[in-house]
Symmetry: D2
Subunit: 348 residues, 4 copies
């Protein structure tokens, strides 16, 4: 697994936590505090996140992982006769082992373009429901799920997000944003969507910790206080309530102190930028045009196997008998010297 002779770029959650986080856990370790997120560290983390989002009244909760956050919040927002619209390639559509359906809800898949859906396709899904004379026999589109960055590393523009938000609110349904890798969007020059924008355009979203420097943890933000009544109990019911809530609180407090969350994103974007430039220079082909920390390269099987002897990449997809897509991911922890070595190998 941690083969020392091999460069590893297979994912953005291979190390422990950003050292500042571990240090803070160490410093506070022997203090006593109340459980279940009722401690002062958690409260301070919530306050810092409210500030970062420009959402002074927001409800904020810390859950442990992405599938858990998605399944819990989607279940909390939908009534039984409603489903969640999501890209065919959305994480909830494919990679959550049916967690949404386990909660009783249908995922209404929309066509995707580089992992993104459009306000148009949301509107058309809603309209086709509205215009269907027999729609009482079908699941009502009840909310929208998007990820930013998407599973393909792509980004919504502010205009696209506004359009999605508009179509949702015109139709009285919530917009939910999965920010598992949000730090890598926020640090990306191509990104024009700020945390303030997200908080003002989305009804619920989460700021990812697990893939952005924490040991684990996702900060669910509900900008409008009380939007989901009894959410604490719903979280508990989904097995998503941490007894030692402060462990998550301390991590997010650290992430939102001294811009750490943004710095974490910055390193990933910088190193990914160098790798992409090299790939382009050496004639590699990109599978998707991802501006963030995930790079998807189309390779012949031979080339893929050759590279894999020296570099651990993430397997993404079989294209055909002779081609595959492999993922190269950078993170807060990616070191420039490893990027140098990687570029050298890619050059060969």
């Amino acid at each position: 697994m941690n083969n020392e002779n091999k460069l590893s770029f297979s994912s953005d959650y291979m190390e422990g936590a950003h050292p500042d986080i571990l240090k803070r856990l160490m410093d506070t370790n022997m203090e006593k505090s109340a459980g279940y997120g009722l401690d002062e560290y958690t409260e301070s983390a919530k306050e810092k996140i409210r500030e970062a989002c420009g959402a002074p009244d927001a409800d904020v909760y810390f859950l442990t992982g992405g599938t858990q956050a998605n399944a819990t919040m989607i279940d909390a927002m939908l009534r039984s006769y409603q489903g969640v619209m999501a890209a065919k390639s959305g994480h909830i559509s494919v990679h959550e082992a049916g967690a949404i359906e386990f909660g009783g809800h249908k995922v209404l898949t929309l066509p995707e373009n580089n992992g993104k859906i459009t306000a148009g396709s949301v509107e058309s899904c809603i309209n086709s429901y509205k215009m269907d004379e027999n729609n009482e026999h079908t699941i009502m589109p009840g909310m929208v799920y998007i990820s930013h960055p998407t599973e393909f590393g792509t980004l919504y523009s502010l205009d696209e997000l506004k359009a999605l938000s508009d179509v949702c609110h015109k139709n009285d349904i919530p917009l939910y944003l999965d920010g598992a890798r949000l730090a890598y969007a926020l640090a990306c020059p191509e990104n024009d969507v700020s945390l303030h924008d997200i908080a003002s355009l989305c009804d619920v979203f989460y700021i990812g910790g697990t893939k952005c420097g924490a040991l684990f943890g996702e900060a669910v933000v509900i900008p409008k206080k009380g939007f989901i009544p009894h959410i604490f109990t719903i979280i508990k019911q989904h097995g998503a309530l941490l007894a030692k809530g402060r462990i998550a609180g301390i991590q997010f407090e650290t992430l939102f102190t001294n811009d750490l969350y943004y710095k974490i994103g910055q390193n990933a974007i910088d190193t990914a930028g160098r790798i992409k430039a090299a790939l382009a220079e050496y004639g590699y082909e990109f599978a998707f045009n991802s501006p963030t920390n995930q790079i998807f390269v189309r390779l012949s099987r031979e080339k893929s196997e050759e590279l894999s002897e020296k570099i651990e990449m993430g397997f993404w997809e079989n294209i055909d008998d002779s081609h595959v897509i492999m993922r190269i991911a950078t993170s807060w922890a990616t070191r420039q010297e490893d990027v140098d070595r990687l570029i050298e190998i890619l050059k060969q």
Copy 2:
């Protein structure tokens, strides 16, 4: 919350983690490893737990909390037409916000005695189902849930556990043990049930980390390999799969190195012993006869309020208008000097 002038004995999960655990997380932090528990630390932790349990083929998984572990494993074991038998006072019966029912399952409550159920009451529940001519219209008793120590800090004797195991297996249903505070049982002189016993008598159980010195985490042990097919996917579906699985793995590897898990229990039991002796000497009344780290004291409201000015205790229950039950809990982190001060206050 962490009032420095006040002694705090309100629960056993008020601090971070045992220092050895934090140190180990620190030491390994920058290593890269595979996600989802497929790393070498997790593998090593599993191996050490298999050894400690005398169950060389056991499936072992690390989940984040007790409610999550219970809801996931009970859902994994029951078919839809079955329910889980548990003490009326069992954690799953009252304090899990309906997590078992959220998974579609009924909790069949049995009478409890100091938090414990008997093989006799299990048998009688099963027999009354079997002898009911209309039982096809009712939920079948499909497994047994017990906690050890119980929610009241009490312990099953080896004979009691054997009897429960016998009645379960005679009736072809699994026995599940919730060991949220197992360390405190293992270190208790009154306890005659070893990890080997548990592994040989129970079909599934978990070794608690959250309340026994870890930042979080519960080690689910399935002694008979393959007993629950596709358990990995079931865990994922319940939002219970950690992306950075190693964070849990490293913690349990540390807990099961150099007997740390037992030492953690020892401190809690020793300090609880001193407190109980003092309480008895000063004429306090115990609500339950708990041999482990939770002490339940019956107090008049006046006395309770008086003590609460100097000691943080856990509120347990209103008995009547003028009496309450309060909980004093010790842990791996309880310091002798705090016990000294507590005893002094109790004396007054």
Copy 3:
């Protein structure tokens, strides 16, 4: 099963349908109409029920059976963090094969007295939730389920029903009444609760057809139009929507024409009255004091076996090794000559 030489009093759903219903199905059989309850017979049945209930705006739906109606409507009314309060002996607590839990909801059982719960016990359940400092970790009492008549044939008085309604509405939770055998209450001299009362005191209830003369069918009434949004889809989702909705509609239209529903109740009550008088005269012991069409007799096993040779009764419960409770049920179809024969046998 239909042993011609044996008197059968084992339940109130042993025959087909009241002849008027069958005749009406015959007369309308070859007409064509829209499906899913959108036909004129169903509309007419709804209108007649609205009138009978004094609820001109009520939403009315026809489902096929009691468990289905209970599971569907309870699921429609509860949010995931809520449970339904019901008597320990309530149909949903014991005899619906976990249908409520299958929908994700906990049944919060209350003590019963002859099958009934009191406003006091509802209030105390709600208060104990409210006063519990840790109630966010538990299921919130979210509605009340009662049956009228109860499973033991007993009746709520108007005052008792008003008190239940008051405590529910004071606490903003709905009151639901299962009227599987409502005809037998309405015809009972001891009953002082009218359909108008029920419609004004309950938020949702159903008027039983299956056990009151229909082939099948329960009329769910929601007095306040729109109280449950999208109920049509929820019914469909629970597999409870009849394609040929008119078959249920025609039956209820017939039941609510010319007071048929009340007449059906009358015969059951009259014949039950005769049987009860005879039982009392001959020194039999009643297990519950039921004023409706179900009679519960406490018998020694010998006597029970002796009677069972000549009379089919319903087995109710084992009391101890030598005593059982048996049920004698009358219905719209019970004939006076069979009652004569029954009384003769009881006399021996």
Copy 4:
């Protein structure tokens, strides 16, 4: 709704029941029998169905409707980590209001051709699961759902059904067939799949009553006795157990006496044949090539509106701004004189 001046061909469930069924219900009405399908009529119906299917040991249950049968049986067959493969156009994929997801299961949609799926696409779905290195994070294909005839009136050939059965059994997953309109397949000259074939190739299927001449009811057949343990309780839990089970039993006993089920299909096929010949002659365009009792015609909106003044058809789909698909359905109850009038109108 039942406009007397208008011809109605909008669906195959517009009338009550075949007169033989009503007569039989009438004749047996006042007999007393046990509830819940434990009566002799139900037993006789089961026996006749076993015979018709050449499956002497089959478990047979009578449920009330198609969505209910599908949701109950699919839930009974799948484990939580599995999903059901079905055509994108399958009834469970679109028109059951999320009933499958309510039970916790994902529908894995496959491409369809005229409503049918192929063994090839099933195999490719299974293989792509098997070859996915991360498949433990996804839902496992756990069974196959097909309808025969399909929602588009098309038929599987015996070879196609055999191929589907083979690929299922090679992969140890059950094949389930929804026979809501099975009578219309069995009577169709193009059909080469017999009830014996279905019983030997499918693990579970249902023989439709609601759309084939019954008041309501679907006969679920499980050729291999005991294949689904505790199915009675599962049916009850889904609210699908009829108290007066015999009402369904009597209907199916009648349908399977003197070949009534086949005769019912015959009339629908004959009349549909005449209509299709006329449509072809007059130059109408078919949307799908359906050999059974549902005819799908592509019409301009003007033509559709013109025809709709004289004929009630079923609205199927908007193609574009100026074209629609309308459905003409025949049934056991379609009269030749109405077909004459319909043809005359179509001619104009």
